[in-house]
């Protein structure tokens, strides 16, 4: 039996270092993660803009950029190997160091204890440790741009032999080694975080907080953590094996008989397919690790701004269970044409089509949550509705790719790029924005600016669709991803026009993001003071002052009497009844 440390968060530190830097307080750590992710997003976004410039105006000379990247853009013209570094690092940073860090680690750390009525995470020290492992991981990743040969260039999937043999591509030198080290560190940190989440949610719920009274944010973070624990270690192992292949002469992923860069490769007996299986065993569940919390937070935002309970709470929880179970047996749909057995392909396509069922049920619950509501279209709500729209379009695109037969034509094309940006780019990013505008008053005690927020929303929405909707149709033309330029093929030349529009949209989206950053930091210093519960919401975090004190609860931890979505209860005095209000007839449905 684990002793319940519910009443003893680590003693409140008073010195600056222990309070803001090496803090064990889940709220400080959550904000640290969030700000780290924000810094990484600036880098990853800038990489994307560089890619867009090259694709739209191939070979354009930008001498001021040449000064910034003397090796990657000599004289201001981008080299192909630098372009490959850009795609690799953009993907890696965005998936692991922006979305994972902000959504799962940032909001996860901040919200879990305070939404379940705990004083802190189960293991505050482990929590601090996991953050301070991510910092070197970030620094190593960023530092890899400055080593000889540049950053890793084998794609964010790091398929060997490209990622195993330094002579195969310039970025496969120290850049790739640092990439692997940083990834290994990141996963170790993420695993510790997951352990903390699962333990905290299972053991530290306050009195009365049964599992079926949890807000969906906590439910989704719980499943995300379970998935992370089950699948992420596979890539840690794979990364270490690949490091051994690169530096210690093993051959896990490199077969014999290869001839690269004018020399015979001294490896024997491995297979690149093993890496692909290990990578996607993590890689596919990772998509759900990011998507589920995004959806959970969207539900919480929807409830607060429709002033009614979410539709189908139980259905969502059941769907999450099914989704989590199925998501660990569908990784092979990334490998339909990889050379694995075609019978396996059939297995994975049937499994993948099956996973559309719980996903669509969640989609139905999202959209039906609007029915009968009294919509308050504030900025977080606008972003939440944006999530519903993106989840729909992105999900429908997935049906084309999870189908092995149509994937023969669409695999590795811009259809894929469009699809996954809608899902792990759009749904997650819009949910992150919704969550930021929603919880900002709680986190910092001040409100963000509504008018700027709405401008941010509209520019982001138009920019996002402008970037990624059309990409699906470029894929329908057969346009392959990861091309440095589309100038060498007759069939690709007519498609150049669309790239201009995609790039303009990406500049618009970038401008909107700066608006968000400005709003964030301006509101941090100058925003108007926020009350305890500015949205008149029901969950526990809104019952304490903004920002919450160390240990979250001033006196005893709260006691919970009802589920998380008691909005517009009949006979209640107001249109929301916090979870802490004692029952007087208006109970959550059985």
């Amino acid at each position: 039996m684990i002793p319940t440390p519910i009443g003893n968060a680590t003693p409140h530190a008073t010195g600056f270092w222990r309070r803001y830097i090496f803090s064990a307080d889940h709220k400080v750590i959550g904000i640290q993660y969030y700000l780290t992710a924000m810094a990484m997003a600036l880098v990853a976004g800038a990489l994307a803009l560089l890619m867009r410039i090259q694709l739209t105006w191939p070979g354009i000379r930008l001498s001021w950029l040449g000064k910034l990247f003397p090796a990657g853009m000599p004289g201001g013209v981008m080299t192909p190997e630098f372009y490959l570094s850009l795609i690799t690092m953009h993907g890696t940073l965005m998936v692991f160091f922006v979305i994972s860090l902000a959504l799962v680690s940032g909001f996860g750390n901040y919200l879990i204890p305070i939404q379940i009525g705990a004083r802190d995470m189960a293991y505050p020290f482990l929590n601090m440790l996991s953050f301070w492992l991510v910092v070197p991981a970030c620094l190593i990743m960023l530092g890899s741009f400055f080593v000889e040969g540049g950053a890793a260039a084998a794609g964010w999937t790091a398929y060997p032999p490209l990622s195993a043999l330094p002579q195969a591509v310039p970025g496969s030198g120290w850049g790739q080694t640092l990439w692997l080290l940083a990834m290994a560190l990141f996963i170790v940190s993420f695993t510790m975080g997951g352990l903390n989440y699962v333990t905290t949610i299972l053991n530290l719920r306050t009195k009365g907080m049964s599992m079926m009274r949890l807000p969906l944010t906590v439910w989704t973070l719980f499943f995300a953590a379970v998935l992370g624990l089950l699948t992420f270690p596979a890539l840690t192992a794979a990364a270490i094996m690949l490091l051994f292949d690169r530096h210690f002469g093993t051959s896990f992923f490199v077969p014999g008989g290869l001839f690269v860069g004018g020399e015979i490769v001294p490896h024997e007996g491995g297979t690149p397919l093993l890496w692909q299986h290990l990578f996607w065993f993590l890689g596919h569940p990772e998509v759900y690790v990011l998507l589920l919390p995004a959806v959970g937070m969207t539900f919480d935002v929807l409830a607060a701004f429709t002033r009614k309970p979410v539709f189908g709470y139980r259905l969502v929880v059941i769907s999450l269970i099914v989704l989590t179970a199925l998501s660990v047996v569908v990784w092979g749909h990334h490998m339909f044409v990889s050379g694995m057995s075609p019978y396996l392909g059939e297995f994975f396509t049937i499994g993948t089509m099956l996973i559309t069922v719980p996903s669509a049920v969640i989609g139905l619950c999202l959209i039906a949550s609007l029915w009968g509501g009294c919509l308050r279209l504030t900025t977080p709500m606008l972003f939440a509705i944006g999530v519903i729209a993106l989840f729909g379009t992105g999900g429908f695109g997935g049906i084309f790719l999870g189908n092995a037969t149509s994937d023969i034509f669409l695999h590795g094309s811009y259809f894929v790029v469009g699809h996954f940006h809608f899902m792990i780019g759009g749904v997650t990013l819009f949910a992150m924005f919704a969550a930021t505008y929603f919880w900002f008053p709680k986190m910092f005690g001040r409100s963000m600016n509504e008018r700027l927020g709405r401008i941010h929303f509209w520019l982001s929405l138009i920019g996002f669709y402008g970037m990624f909707l059309g990409m699906h149709f470029l894929g329908l033309n057969g346009l392959p991803r990861r091309y440095y330029a589309f100038t060498q093929f007759e069939i690709l030349k007519p498609l150049q026009g669309m790239h201009l529009w995609i790039s303009i949209s990406s500049f618009l989206f970038a401008a909107a993001s700066f608006l968000f950053l400005f709003n964030f930091f301006w509101s941090l210093a100058r925003g108007s003071r926020a009350a305890r519960n500015p949205w008149e919401a029901t969950t526990l975090e809104w019952t304490v002052r903004s920002p919450p004190p160390h240990g979250n609860w001033e006196a005893e931890p709260p006691q919970v009497h009802r589920w998380a979505y008691e909005y517009s209860a009949p006979d209640a005095a107001r249109d929301f009844t916090p979870q802490t209000v004692e029952p007087d007839g208006a109970m959550a449905p059985k």
């Binding site: 014999g256 049906i399 189908n403 509504e450």
Partner: protein
Amino acid sequence: MGVIFNILMRNHPSTLAAATTGPLQGRSHGLLLALFCLLVPFLCFLFWKQHQPPPVASEHGAGIDLMINYLLAAVGGLLLVGHAILAWFVWRFSRQDRVTFRLATVRTEWKWALVPVVLMLLVAEGGVLVFGVPVWKKFYVAKAPANALTVEVTGQQFVWHFRYPGKDGLFGRTHVKFIDDDNVLGLDPTDAAGRDDLIVNGQLRLPVNRPVRLRLRSKDVLHGFFLPSQRVRQDIVPGMLIEVWFVPNQAGQFEILCTELCGLGHHMMRGLLQVMPEREFEQWLNQNHS
């Protein structure tokens, strides 16, 4: 600047009340958002009118196109209906100031859940079982017919090599130790079967309407062999010999693309596919065999 800043930033805290007050309040956003939702399927339709796969030029390719077209129609329909519902909900419920429907009963929830369950089973799972699996089997599982022509494709950082077996119908052994500038594939000089092998760089010639079996190999890293018009795509994995077969049924010249990242020249790893009448093909083959 100061004026703009003032208009933008002063007195607009993000609160619950902000939704119903101020110059651009909830209702107008609801209408705009609804219109945007309706715009999306329309945009998809416009894009689709302009962006379609190149005309199909192989036998099994028609099956892949049928699969894609079925999905475009079925999923496109769902996309339209889904966006219409979202638009309606957002517009309709942003215009009311009290909650008109609060909580569904368990039975209602389950009844509504049946809609996505049935739709997805029919459209996604049903689609792949009915239209997908037979084509997949034909392309991947079925054996190539006996009269198939066999050609070996070797991917190398940034060029394609094609090898025809010659009159004996046998490919000569290769080994990496024999590779040099004159022997790009590393043919074993002691193997008689390799003497009449014909190796062509960059251009694949095939007879029209005859099944062709491709043996895909790589010298160095992963490559992706992609014939867009023939709807043939197969990754090439070093250390593995992967076979695919298909029937090109349109003569003409097509491009071969590499679609698995293979290094800094990935984007220019271009090959040509020349599909020609059988007689012309035989003529070419005879001329080039020593």
